[in-house]
């Protein structure tokens, strides 16, 4: 940590202050946020319920123009978007909050998929458990891998983590190929699904019917969002953002940075595993061909595009990254190129992504707002008082 004397001219200070005075500049999707914050609690809830209803209804509605058909089945496309959104929510914890570049996300995704396959597919010789149990199991196992990978790398500089995780993404795929028990390209068929049969005797959660899978995925996203939101508005979220902003300063302010980085990494890995298990269930088949390390780059693109450090942005980014190749099948082959270039362009011109919003880091943020309003009111009152006094003082000689 090299200390430097800040070279601050009065001019620079003036500039900062004038910028401060300018207040909030208009920004893309920023107005929404302002409007949202101005709403009362019940309005927010109402709005949320309407949005949620629309989200759940989406695959059934299959709206014109938005639909990915005839190229891709729309409900299944919706499911894939949901999976990407979930991935982005998890990766956002690592990249967006803690500022760690995790490029092995596809590996955790793969670990989750294989967990579901190993414990539900008839091709596996391990014990079998109901599919829904594999979701928490996948989360747990992926977390363990996350910790194993994080322990050696998180003490070091961020780039080590990036390249080690990038390598890990490829290694998992290779291991799936060369370890006999992972069955390489042959893979695992008939991965399990949640229970329930429709009236026609078909399982509700069938490979061809995306709608229930989509609903399941959206529900999982909501649960994860709530939990991540809890973390965000606590000392954990504050520690993450502090680490992202200035790791050394955070450590000196008493934040056990290594511990919180490891948590972020493990939580991210866990959500990756969870999404992998969901994905494996819907597709019903897992082999070594599905986990291209380039997909990790798409995941990062999802977070960065939406706006890192921001849950709404992550969901949006994830959905967009999944949607574009599904909707515009003509350019599907170029998706890695397109999103690779988008990454560069974004980082250079708009590093805050589409939805630029600040993380909410206090459970009692309203209390804080109220207190500050009190201060302002008090100041205004005292200023008025002074003005009145001055007026009175001026008034006397005039008479």
């Amino acid at each position: 940590m090299s200390e430097q004397t800040p070279v601050r001219t009065t001019r620079a200070v003036q500039l900062t202050e004038s910028r401060e005075a300018l207040g909030g500049r208009k920004q893309f999707l920023g107005g929404w946020r302002r409007r949202w914050n101005r709403m009362a609690r019940w309005q927010q809830w109402l709005f949320l319920i309407i949005v949620l209803a629309a989200v759940y209804y989406l695959p059934v509605a299959n709206p014109w123009l938005i639909t990915t058909e005839p190229g891709n089945d729309f409900p299944i496309a919706c499911f894939q978007m949901a999976v990407y959104a979930l991935v982005a929510v998890g990766l956002n914890v690592v990249v967006g909050f803690a500022g760690l570049l995790d490029l092995g996300y596809i590996a955790f995704f793969a670990i989750g998929s294989y967990t579901a396959a190993f414990f539900t597919s008839p091709d596996s010789s391990l014990i079998h458990i109901p599919y829904l149990w594999t979701l928490p199991l996948a989360l747990g196992i992926a977390m363990l891998f996350g910790v194993a990978l994080g322990l050696p790398t998180l003490r070091l500089r961020g780039d080590y983590l990036a390249i080690v995780t990038l390598g890990f993404g490829e290694i998992i795929r290779i291991l799936a190929t060369i370890i006999p028990a992972a069955r390489g390209q042959v893979g695992f068929k008939e991965v399990g699904h949640p229970p329930g049969t429709a009236s026609d005797g078909q399982p509700i959660f069938s490979v061809s019917n995306g709608v229930p899978w989509y609903w399941l995925a959206v529900t999982v996203i909501i649960v994860i969002l709530l939990l991540v939101g809890n973390l965000e508005r606590s000392r954990v979220g504050r520690a993450w953002i502090a680490i992202r902003e200035d790791e050394d300063a955070a450590e000196i302010m008493g934040v056990p940075t290594f511990k919180f980085k490891l948590w972020a990494f493990a939580i991210g890995a866990g959500v990756g595993g969870l999404s992998g298990a969901l994905f494996a269930g819907q597709v019903g088949f897992v082999n070594n061909q599905k986990f291209d390390v380039a997909t990790s780059m798409l995941f990062v693109a999802a977070v960065v595009l939406g706006g890192s450090g921001n849950k709404v942005g992550a969901i949006l980014g994830g959905a967009i990254v999944a949607y574009i190749p599904l909707r515009f099948t003509a350019i599907a082959d170029y998706k890695y190129l397109i999103f690779g270039i988008i990454l560069i362009v974004l980082m250079i011109f708009r590093p805050q992504g589409l939805v630029a919003a600040k993380a909410h880091l206090l459970t009692y943020s309203r209390l804080a707002l109220d207190k500050v309003s009190e201060f302002r009111a008090a100041r205004v009152a005292s200023e008025q008082e002074k003005a009145a006094a001055a007026e009175a003082a001026k008034g006397v000689p005039n008479e």
Binding site: R8, E20, G24, N37, L362, A368
Partner: protein, 343 residues
Amino acid sequence: MSEPRDEKRERVPVENDPNLGAVPESVPNEGPADADLTDIGPDPTPEADTDVPDEAELAEVLAEAGIDEEVAEAAASEREIAVEVGEKIIEVKAVTVKFGGLTALDDVTFHINRGEILGLIGPNGAGKTTAFNAMTGVYKPTSGDVLLEGKSIKGKKQHRITRAGLARTFQNIRLFGEMTALENVVVGLDARHKTSVPGALVRSPRHYREEKSAVERGIALLEFVGIAESANTLSRHLPYGSQRRLEIARALATDPKVLCLDEPAAGFNPAEKDQLMDLIRTIRADGYTVLLIEHDMRLVMGVCDRIVVLEFGKKIADGSPAEVRADQRVISAYLGEPDDDAA
């Protein structure tokens, strides 16, 4: 890299908290000046501070700063207020720090007494910041030892040293730019919080308790340093003076035994420096021990009980302001340097 910092400011749109409307034209950048909003006037004799060397002076300070005891109490709620200048709270013993061939600190020994304001001065590059870094665990001393209340803290993790009671500010401001002023302070408060990650995940009762007290104490601390109105402003949007004050509030939030300030007045004008002096005196009056690095002689001489002088990594003097001012080596070390040299 100070240039990119400014560019960043320019690029990222200013965020405003909508609930508060637009940020007022001039956000206060001088703390105590607008402390009048705390509505209570001077409070001449706080009983708790009977041990303070100069009662009259303190009363004056408090009055000037417009800080009433209640606020000070809230800011320092969990500490006993004992301002006796007493036993050694920090001992720096024969510490040497080397960077490759360069010896930045050479066998430096000094101590800080509980309740005093110790000045650490010296020409540029003398090793003052390095001494801070060696004490707070940023650098591990090549040799020597650092004791906090008799226990060695050398080589301990930085966050542990902070929790052991040593907090600091940075010479080049290092706030968490994307956090509001209040959130910055709450990060400091978190050093004393115990909510675990699972606890936060399910929102345990402790979590709620700590969060609530964090907001209250955080606001009180901001009020203490005089920037409560900017509590919900992103710290990178704060004016420079408020940023320096926020650094102090954040360090105080960790509830330190010793507060180390690294050139807190750098870039301040004389009026702001006066306010800062008052603030430092108030902090001490609240029972904190203060270690102060500062170039401005007037400020140092005016506020410190004792001064340690470094030059080229060696300690060349240690004594009361009057003694130091009279010291021949100090005079020659500073010869040619203007008195009012603000980094």
